[in-house]
């Protein structure tokens, strides 16, 4: 525990140093990155000790804040969420060191590192906090520091707008968390997590659960509370997007699981609700991802999809717990938790790859790019690994976690009626998500990296810096290694599932053991695949040896002047599916009508805005503004009066308490 505290201190101190030494920009950049990497590596080292001996990992000092105590702890649940936080933060910091060089003299590098390190520290603090006030403070720190990072390029109009949307959305979420903590705290009279364990009766737990679902769901991007996510994630610098998409949104999942440990036996409908939200988030997330033309926005939407898959796993786990089907429970939770870790790796990897492309080409529009694999071979290869992993293709890590969720669903297919419908719903949604994700990521990789360069944007691109490449390669290797070694470490989740479900550890280990043979077979098949690939490659080589190999332009149907602009674009690739789902996607098309035989300036533009922000939130906020507009005289911007309000409020409270 002390080591973990040290790493937090290193993070904060190095951030402050980087900020204060901003005048020497190279030093600030190095200081911030080195601090983050050191702290995270130290933290990673401490995690193994923490996992093996969770009872020793507690730390508590009194705190002057009312009801608060600075109590930290790290059990197995915390350790598993801390692992991706530290790993991805270290790699993103490494990457950011190269990435931010581009902004020397243009941006405040020191401030960027201060907020980055604060973000990492606050995420770790959220996961380790054992007191509601501390949790909320850390939560707030996380939201605010990430909001400042989103505003890194705040002079751009759309970035400023994204930051504002994020700030508002995250605080609406926090509001629900506040209500939830008050409900929990009022019942037990304490704000320490330790006092909250135990079963409750009546509507209380369900109400708390719903508050948690909305509050944490806003942070995690459950549909329909996701609207801030596709705005804020693309706007941030790429190493921050990787961190936000890869791990920050998972703090919501962590919070949900943590709260569930306090609520005792869950109701079955919680699980069904989670599954329903999960499949909705999964399908809509990937559908909107497919319709995007900005590749970072595409990745942001795909995070919503993956949160959906995680939720489906956890939902199955909750259903399994409530119907006393321990195998289903274990597989569901294990699949969901493994996907939390996996998604951190491949989404981090994809965002870093996307950042390298943006860094080199200066655009996020896929249709302007193309042919980058020749210029950026390593970035391209890593992006391909990430794309295959996120589609859940074997033998990579994404397959293993989806396999567990599928496996649990297939196992419960002969159970009771409601369970069967949940299982079939999950199977069908996962299959649909798989197909859509494959379309989405063949599009992303194919249009950005394959073919010919479409415009001048990519002409001068070259391979990313050495640290950027290093962090991407490490993540790509991690995706492959997890895919091949899943049976070895799946047992890690046993203790977490025991904590969340309150079931005996031995039972859970028994269930996990049952999943061993299929997982081992999957690995055997992966090895078979590898051997067959090697054999076919060797065979191909022996057939081609001594034969003539020539190079010639692509078959152009006899057309004399092929042009790179004639290539299929991202929007045309996605058009059949986007058109098919037009009822949901509502893609707007703007085209100049062609009237003459030789049109001079034809143009065509498509844009897919978010369904929920257009049809639900915008009208809602508009009517809210009509009402609150009448209260603007209260908010005049004079600080003295604001302080007066506080005094009045305090006096009123005192009088009420008298």
């Amino acid at each position: 525990m002390n080591v973990l505290l040290c790493s937090l201190i290193v993070l904060i101190v190095s951030g402050v140093f980087a900020f204060s030494l901003n005048r020497c920009v190279k030093f600030a950049n190095g200081m911030g990155a080195a601090g983050a990497v050191t702290a995270c590596v130290v933290g990673l080292g401490a995690l193994f000790a923490v996992y093996n001996n969770p009872t020793a990992a507690v730390f508590s000092i009194p705190w002057a804040i009312p009801c608060g105590s600075f109590s930290l702890g790290a059990d197995a649940l915390s350790a598993v969420f801390l692992f991706p936080v530290f790993l991805l933060s270290a790699l993103s910091a490494l990457y950011g060191f190269d990435y931010l060089k581009h902004y020397y003299g243009k941006k405040n590098i020191g401030a960027a590192w201060l907020f980055y390190n604060l973000l990492v520290a606050s995420m770790a603090l959220v996961i380790m906090a054992r007191n509601a006030i501390l949790f909320l403070s850390a939560w707030e720190m996380m939201s605010v520091s990430s909001c400042f990072l989103v505003l890194f390029e705040g002079e751009k109009r759309d970035v400023a707008r994204a930051g504002l949307i994020y700030l508002v959305a995250t605080h609406i979420g926090t509001l629900f968390l506040l209500v939830m903590f008050i409900l929990l705290g009022k019942e037990s009279g304490s704000w320490d997590f330790a006092a909250w364990q135990g079963t409750r009766a009546g509507f209380g737990p369900s109400l708390i659960f719903l508050c948690a679902l909305i509050g944490f769901g806003t942070k995690s991007g459950f549909v329909p509370m996701h609207i801030w996510l596709p705005e804020a994630h693309p706007a941030a610098p790429s190493h921050v997007s990787a961190l936000m998409s890869g791990v920050m949104i998972k703090t919501g999942i962590y919070g949900l699981l943590r709260i569930m440990t306090f609520l005792g036996m869950p109701c079955a409908w919680w699980g069904y609700l989670l599954i329903a939200i999960g499949s909705l988030s999964g399908i809509l997330g990937v559908l909107f991802a497919l319709a995007q033309s900005d590749f970072k926005r595409l990745l942001a939407y795909s995070s919503i999809e993956n949160i959906g898959i995680i939720l489906m796993g956890i939902g199955l786990g909750v259903v399994g717990l409530s119907v006393q089907n321990s195998f289903l429970m274990v597989m569901g939770f294990a699949g969901g938790l493994l996907h939390v870790v996996n998604h951190a790796f491949f989404k981090g990897l994809l965002f870093l790859g996307a950042g390298a492309v943006y860094h080199e080409t200066g655009t996020r529009k896929m249709d302007l790019l193309g042919g980058l694999l020749k210029k950026m071979p390593i970035t391209g290869f890593c992006f391909l690994v990430g794309a295959a992993a996120i589609c859940g293709l074997p033998p990579l890590n994404g397959f293993v976690s989806e396999f567990l969720v599928y496996y649990a669903s297939f196992k419960s297919i002969s159970g009771s009626t409601s369970l069967v419908f949940a299982a079939v719903g999950i199977i069908t949604s996962l299959a649909l998500i798989g197909g859509l994700a494959a379309a989405c990521f063949t599009k992303a990789f194919g249009i950005i990296f394959l073919g010919e360069t479409r415009t001048a944007c990519g002409q001068n691109a070259h391979e990313a810096g050495v640290f950027m490449r290093l962090s991407m390669v490490i993540l790509a290797v991690a995706c492959i290694v997890i895919g091949l070694s899943a049976p070895l470490f799946i047992g890690v989740f046993a203790r977490i599932i025991a904590d969340v479900s309150g079931s005996p550890l031995s039972l859970i280990q028994l269930c996990l053991m049952e999943a061993g043979p299929p997982l081992i077979s999957v690995v055997v098949m992966a090895v078979c695949l590898f051997i067959v690939v090697v054999l076919t490659v060797l065979l191909r080589r022996s057939f081609l040896s001594g034969r003539v190999i020539t190079r010639f332009p692509t078959w152009d149907c006899g057309y004399a002047r092929p042009d790179p602009r004639m290539q299929y674009t991202a929007s045309s690739f996605a058009q059949p599916v986007v058109d098919f789902f037009k009822g949901v996607l509502r893609t707007q098309k703007q085209a100049v009508k062609i009237t003459r035989y030789f049109p001079d300036s034809p143009s065509f533009k498509t844009e897919t805005t978010d369904l929920f922000s257009e049809t639900v939130f915008r009208p809602m906020l508009r009517s809210m503004r009509r009402f609150t507009g009448k209260l603007t005289w209260l908010q005049h911007g004079k600080l003295q009066f604001y302080i007066l309000y506080i005094v009045f409020a305090l006096v009123a409270l005192f009088i009420w308490k008298l």
């Binding site: 197909g435 063949t442 194919g446 299929p518 034969r547 149907c557 690739f573």
Partner: protein, 303 residues
């Protein structure tokens, strides 16, 4: 074990033969004599002896396309039972891995197509992805019905229980599942009414246009991979009419090969008697498969 090796080798050697049967059937309906039964073998051997021409646009992804696709399909063949006898490798949940291995093959075929930078191939890739989107859930749902009825979670489990014995009780379920899987089978193997393997115009092709720039060994791999995939998915259809294996391996195998040939004849008849659907109608056709499999699943809930 020798039987397993034998059945693996038989799948790899016999699968191009089915295309010969299929083409003969089509030729019969067209009043032609048709190509030899072993034509695909000749084609593959001819292609294997050729050199290669690569587009100046392409990268290693173009070459990886056929290699990974063929490897994924061959690896998937480890999971498919033979004539009611268990597959080389079987485990609970191999259904999932099988479908995802076919997904891996598709993923790389599509990327190889996009690597050429040709609009035609982009078009084919886009369509392939769109159709797979509907075919995959239908296949999953159909297999879920079979899993529920037989109480098994692996291909070998499902297809070695003597599926034909379930027909009297679960007739409607099996009938619908057969319909759904047959539609998926036609779509995945680019057959009429979804795709026409003999079409001449690049604009109307789906699968063929994606491999337009492949030649020589690469194209041989693609043709061979398509043949093996045809066999594997066909096994799911033929397997629904298998009795419990009792007549010994040799006899079972002979019956099974006959069944597969009948399947090829049926596909030939379908191809000869149906017109190709308009591209915009293909998703509707595939949604029929999804609907059939959903209804089949609901029917399994009856008892």
């Amino acid at each position: 074990m020798p039987a397993k090796i034998a059945q693996f080798i038989l799948v790899l050697t016999l699968s191009p033969f089915l295309f010969g049967v299929l083409n003969r059937t089509k030729a019969f309906f067209a009043g032609r004599k048709g190509s030899p039964l072993l034509q695909l073998y000749y084609d593959i051997f001819k292609l294997l002896r050729k050199g290669a021409v690569y587009s100046t646009t392409t990268t290693w992804v173009f070459i990886a396309g056929p290699v990974v696709s063929l490897s994924a399909v061959i690896t998937a063949s480890f999971l498919i039972p033979w004539a009611g006898h268990p597959a080389v490798i079987q485990f609970d949940g191999d259904i999932i891995l099988f479908i995802y291995l076919l997904g891996l093959a598709r993923f790389f075929t599509v990327l190889a197509a996009l690597d050429t930078g040709s609009s035609f191939e982009g078009m084919g890739a886009s369509r392939e992805m769109q159709f797979a989107l509907f075919a995959e859930p239908a296949l999953f749902l159909s297999l879920a019905s079979l899993a529920r009825v037989t109480g098994q979670m692996s291909f070998s489990g499902i297809f070695s229980t003597g599926v034909i014995n379930f027909w009297p009780v679960y007739g409607p379920v099996f009938f619908l599942v057969f319909g759904a899987v047959f539609i998926v089978f036609l779509a995945e193997n680019s057959r009429i009414p979804v795709d026409d393997p003999n079409t001449h115009l690049e604009l109307t092709m789906i699968h063929e246009v994606m491999v337009l720039d492949h030649g020589g060994v690469d194209f041989a791999y693609i043709l061979y991979g398509a043949a093996v995939k045809f066999w594997l998915l066909g096994t799911l259809l033929a397997g629904m009419f298998l009795g419990a294996s009792s007549r010994g391996w040799m006899m079972d195998s002979a019956v099974f090969i006959l069944q597969m040939s009948v399947l090829a004849v049926i596909v030939g008849v379908v191809e000869s008697t149906l017109a190709r659907l308009r591209l915009l109608k293909v998703p509707h056709f595939l949604i029929i498969a999804l609907a059939l499999s959903a209804v089949a699943f609901i029917l399994t809930m009856r008892s």
